[in-house]
Structure formats: C-alpha cells, structure tokens
C-alpha cells in the first residue's frame, strides 16, 4: 500500500512545497504581534504596511527556529544566507515585493526518512524564510454591498508574519507517500516547537507539484501545481484526483498543460486557477535593507544537540519497546495522541500496556466523541489510575471498561472511587468463587454432563454463567481454573 502509484505503464512523480507559519511572538521584520484571529488591521505598523522609508529588521527567533527545523530535516545550514526581494503586484503584498530568500536560503539540501512498512526517503531541496502575505477578505456575503463596486478588503495582520517554506525534490511516488511524508514532517515541526502546524488555521499549507511519466523513465512529464491544500487527507485525495486526470489526458493522446489547480474536497473536482499571465518574472534581487544572516558552526552544533526527541527517533524507540510498527508510527506522528501516550506510559511504566489502552478504549472514545486526545476528560493521570487497578489485579477487563465509561461521563470521578462505589473489585477469593461455581454447576446439570462427555467447549458457556453470577467481577483466570478443577473432580 505504500508502494508507488502505477497505472497503465505510468508512474507518479510528486514534489511538495510546504509553508509553515512560525510560532513567534512578533512578526518577521517588525515588532507587531504575530497572532491569529485578532480584529482586522490591529497588528500593523509602518513596516508591515510598507510606509515609505520604514526599514525591516529580521527576527532572531524566526531564524533560530528555522535552523532547528532545517537540522531536523538533515539540511546543510550555510554559514551565510541572505534575503531577496520577490517582485509581484497584488493587494496582499503592500510593498509590491515579498521579502524571501532566493539563491542563498537558510537551509540547503537535506533528506528526510519516513520509516515503517515501505519506508522511503525524500530529498529536501531547501527551506527558506520569508514573510507571509496579507489576508484578502473578498466581498460578497456582506449586506449592503453594491454588486460591482465592492472589491475586496485587505487585513494586514498576517502581512509580514514569518513563514518557513520547505521544498522537496520530486521524490514522492504516490498520494499515500505524500500523506505519510507530510504527517511525519508536521509531527517533527510540532515536536521542535517551531509551529503548531494547525492546517485548519492555515499555519501549515501544502502545495503539490504533480506529474506522471512512463515507468522507468528518468525525465519528467509536464507538471501541474495543486495549491493550498489544508488537510493531510485532502492533499492525498487531491493528488490522486490529479494523477487520474493526467493519466486520462495522456491515454487519450492529449497533452497535460502546465497550470495551477485548486482541489475542492467537497466535490472531488479540480478547477484551473486562471494562470495569471503565468509569466512568473519575479526579478529577485538581494534585499538591500537587510544584512546577511550568518551561522556560527558551534552555535549550530549546540542547536542540533538541543533538539527534542523527533518522531523518527520515537518510532524507533517504540518499536524497540515491542510495539507493532503501525501502532508505533501512529503514536510517533499523531501529535496529540503522542503527547497523551507519553504521559500515560510514563505513569503506567509499561509501554505495551499503555499502547493497548491508547489504541483500544481511548481511541474508541475519542472517535465516538470526535475530539483530540488533549481534549478528552479522561486525562492520562485519570486513565493511569484505572490501568493501575487492572495491572495489580483489583479489577478485571470487563469492569475496567465500565470504569473507563464512568470516567468519561463524570470528569470528577477517579478510578478507585468508581470501583469502590460500584463494588467492582474482582472476586478472586477461592471461597467466594467456589460458591458461585457450585451454584452454576448445580443449575446446569445438562452442560456439566456434556462437558464430561467430551464437549469441552461447553466450558465457555459455564464461565459466562459464573461471570454473570459474579456481576462481571470474577477473576477470569481463577474462575477457569476453578471450573476445570470442579468438573474433573
């Protein structure tokens, strides 16, 4: 399933461009707050509104966080990088150029390994720092607007906020690989703390360059660009739809046109974003208002040493602890689940037991409630209390499920309290169990006879009856043993 996308003699060639909004306090080139969701045009100043004569000064933290991401992506961090101006006219760009980086990016050639079944490696072309554009609020829905005279309203709060653009080589061979790569990359950037990578808020945005070519050929077909996909799942679906579209064209003897496309997840359709005269003549030149950014090798070594455990290393650690690969990958890359698991495993002290609970009861509850792990009322601390009672034999699995449900329903409850209030403590005592077993055997003479006549599977029924008689609290192992003992007497 993680092999390449191959149809009718053609294979997929996919590269990604990923924009990460860096989680700094201030903007890239001025001290305005870098904050999402504020009232329009309340975080603006002369610099990010491009008043004449206002000068940019680069944000040290944005540079530092970008270097950390670059190091995690195996990039070379050159001793000096510089900013350049990328010229274009659009109302979201107040200066009529964007400060970006061109031939001297902050992070150069890297490579990123995606582990697990069908592991693969993606070469990173570069990662460079730039400023984000303003937000256009397109007129339309507002009452009182006169059709035709409305235009758009520009909100410059986002203008000048720091963006790290990560560009890959066209090394991805299927939509599934693109999904896996982006999931792992996102988890990596979140682990580093450079961004929350919330795709719904737009703090992680991905464009995909998609083409197909005859299998085994070394050249590239004409590529199209899928713009601004805002979820990992839609990215994979959009690429899949575009590959099918291109294959249809090629098989019909037509040519793929180079264009920019928008994927609509609601309809699954692709629409061409009228190539704005497509003459991309950005006339990059060095930004004269900013000095080059230099990197000291010792500082870089220190930064590299201070990186937290990254998802790739987590995956190795979790598989090393005996977790299945699929489980380890999920717990290494699903950001909220990973944090939850870590805390639970730390409290429980057993990687496998913790993983079983997270993948079982917790996931079922999260799916049913439609929430992320960090929003669950069953915190790792509360769940650890429950797991402890199972591990030490106080309650059995059946009761544990009931207690879990009680923890979901009552955020104030704790596992030990629920067990006590509901009398769920396991019945393992030989006398008490013996009485239950004797009662059940006396009530079911036919089954007892059947068992003695060789129908061994009847024991399952008898265990069930005893469990029922115990109110679900019997120690299942002790019960089995006792039943067998009595039946063979």
């Amino acid at each position: 399933m993680s092999g390449g996308w191959q149809r009718d003699g053609y294979e997929a060639v996919i590269g990604l461009e990923i924009h990460v909004q860096l989680d700094t306090a201030s903007k890239m080139f001025c001290a305005c707050p870098n904050r999402f969701g504020d009232e329009p045009n309340t975080n603006v100043c002369m610099v990010c509104l491009a008043h004449p004569g206002a000068l940019p000064v680069a944000n040290a933290e944005a540079v530092r966080q970008s270097a950390r991401v670059g190091l995690a992506l195996g990039c070379r961090i050159p001793a000096a990088s510089e900013f350049s101006r990328k010229q274009y006219f659009y109302p979201d760009s107040p200066k009529a150029y964007q400060i970006s980086q061109y031939d001297q990016p902050l992070c150069a050639e890297g490579s990123f390994h995606v582990p697990g079944e069908g592991a693969f490696t993606v070469r990173i072309t570069r990662a460079h720092l730039e400023e984000d554009a303003a937000k256009m609020i397109h007129a339309g829905g507002d009452a009182g607007r006169i059709q035709g005279s409305a235009g758009s309203v520009v909100d410059f709060n986002r203008a000048g906020t720091p963006l790290l653009e990560i560009v890959t080589e066209p090394d991805l061979r299927s939509p599934e690989q693109a999904r896996r790569f982006l999931t792992l990359l996102r988890a990596t950037v979140v682990a580093i703390g450079a961004s929350d990578c919330d795709m719904e808020k737009g703090s992680l945005r991905a464009d995909a360059n998609v083409s197909i070519r005859p299998i085994g050929s070394a050249g590239y077909g004409t590529k199209t660009e899928l713009k601004n996909m805002n979820s990992v799942r839609f990215l994979a679906r959009g690429i899949e739809a575009e590959l099918e579209r291109q294959l249809g064209l090629v098989l019909a003897g037509e040519e793929v046109r180079q264009e920019t496309l928008h994927f609509d997840p609601a309809t699954g359709g692709l629409t061409s974003l009228r190539s704005k005269e497509e003459a991309h003549d950005y006339r990059y030149f060095p930004e004269p208002d900013l000095l080059p950014v230099t990197q000291d090798p010792d500082d870089l070594a220190a930064l590299a040493g201070q990186l937290p455990e990254l998802p790739v290393a987590r995956f190795a650690r979790l598989t090393g602890a005996g977790l299945p690969e699929a489980t380890a990958l999920l717990l290494a890359t699903e950001v909220e689940l990973a944090a939850y698991y870590d805390e639970l495993a730390g409290r429980v002290g057993d990687a496998k037991v913790a993983a079983n609970w997270v993948m079982g009861e917790l996931q079922a509850h999260l799916n049913a409630a439609g929430i992320a792990a960090d929003a669950s009322p069953v915190t790792p601390a509360r769940l650890a209390g429950l797991v402890g009672l199972v591990v030490d034999g106080t309650i059995n699995q059946t009761s544990a499920k009931e207690v879990f449900q009680a923890l979901v329903e009552d955020p104030a409850a704790d596992a030990a309290g629920v067990v006590e209030a509901r009398g769920l403590a396991q019945v393992g005592d030989a006398d008490e169990l013996g009485a239950i077993v004797d009662g059940v055997l006396a009530d079911h003479p036919e089954e007892v006879a059947a068992f003695k006549g060789g129908r061994e599977q009847v024991i399952g029924f008898l265990v069930g009856q005893c469990m029922k008689a115990s109110g679900g609290r019997a120690d299942a192992k002790a019960l089995q043993a006792l039943l067998r003992e009595r039946l063979s007497a």
Partner: protein, 98 residues
C-alpha cells in the same frame, strides 16, 4: 561582451512588470536610455573582477537581528488614515482580475 540593444517589446515587457503604461514615443526614448545604461554596465563588466566577491551590503559584518519581542502596532484608525477607500476595519481595494 557586445552592446545590448533593447527591443521595443522588451521595453514594453519591463514596463508591464512595473505596471507602467507607455506611449509609443516613450517606448522609443526609454529604449534608447535603457540601452545606454546597459551599455555602461557592460563597460563595468569588462573590468577584471572575477575574483572579487560582490559587495551586496556596505556593512561587512553580518547579523543585525532583533530579539523576538512584540509590542502593539499602530491604532487602527491611524493605520487606515491614509487609505483612499477604507472600511471601518480595513483597506478596500478594487475588484481583482475583473
């Protein structure tokens, strides 16, 4: 390096990139002037400076970075004061691509 002569089409392309509308006689005049400027650059390019790294900045010391501390921006009324067609919240611009 031979002298470069800008064609009228090249002049119009450069003008279009800068969103300048040029009359035909301006195309002719600016073509001449730009050609002369490029000729001068060509002259400089003939100097033996292959081993001299480009001076992109007058300041030879890198790094003028700013600590990541935020402070409030301008009041919105002030930010919008010079806008030709503001709404109470933002900068209205003409319809795009119409």
């Amino acid at each position: 390096m031979a002298d470069v002569e800008l064609t009228p089409d090249e002049v119009r392309h450069v003008a279009a990139l800068a969103r300048l509308g040029l009359a035909d006689e301006e195309v002719e005049r600016l073509g001449r002037e730009l050609t002369s400027i490029l000729g001068h650059v060509n002259t400089i390019a003939q100097l033996p400076i292959a081993d001299v790294p480009p001076t992109k900045h007058a300041n030879p010391h890198g790094d003028a970075l700013r600590p990541d501390a935020a402070r409030p921006g301008a009041p919105r009324e002030e930010a919008l004061a010079n806008a030709p067609d503001p709404t109470p919240e933002g900068f209205r611009v003409p319809p795009i691509g119409a």
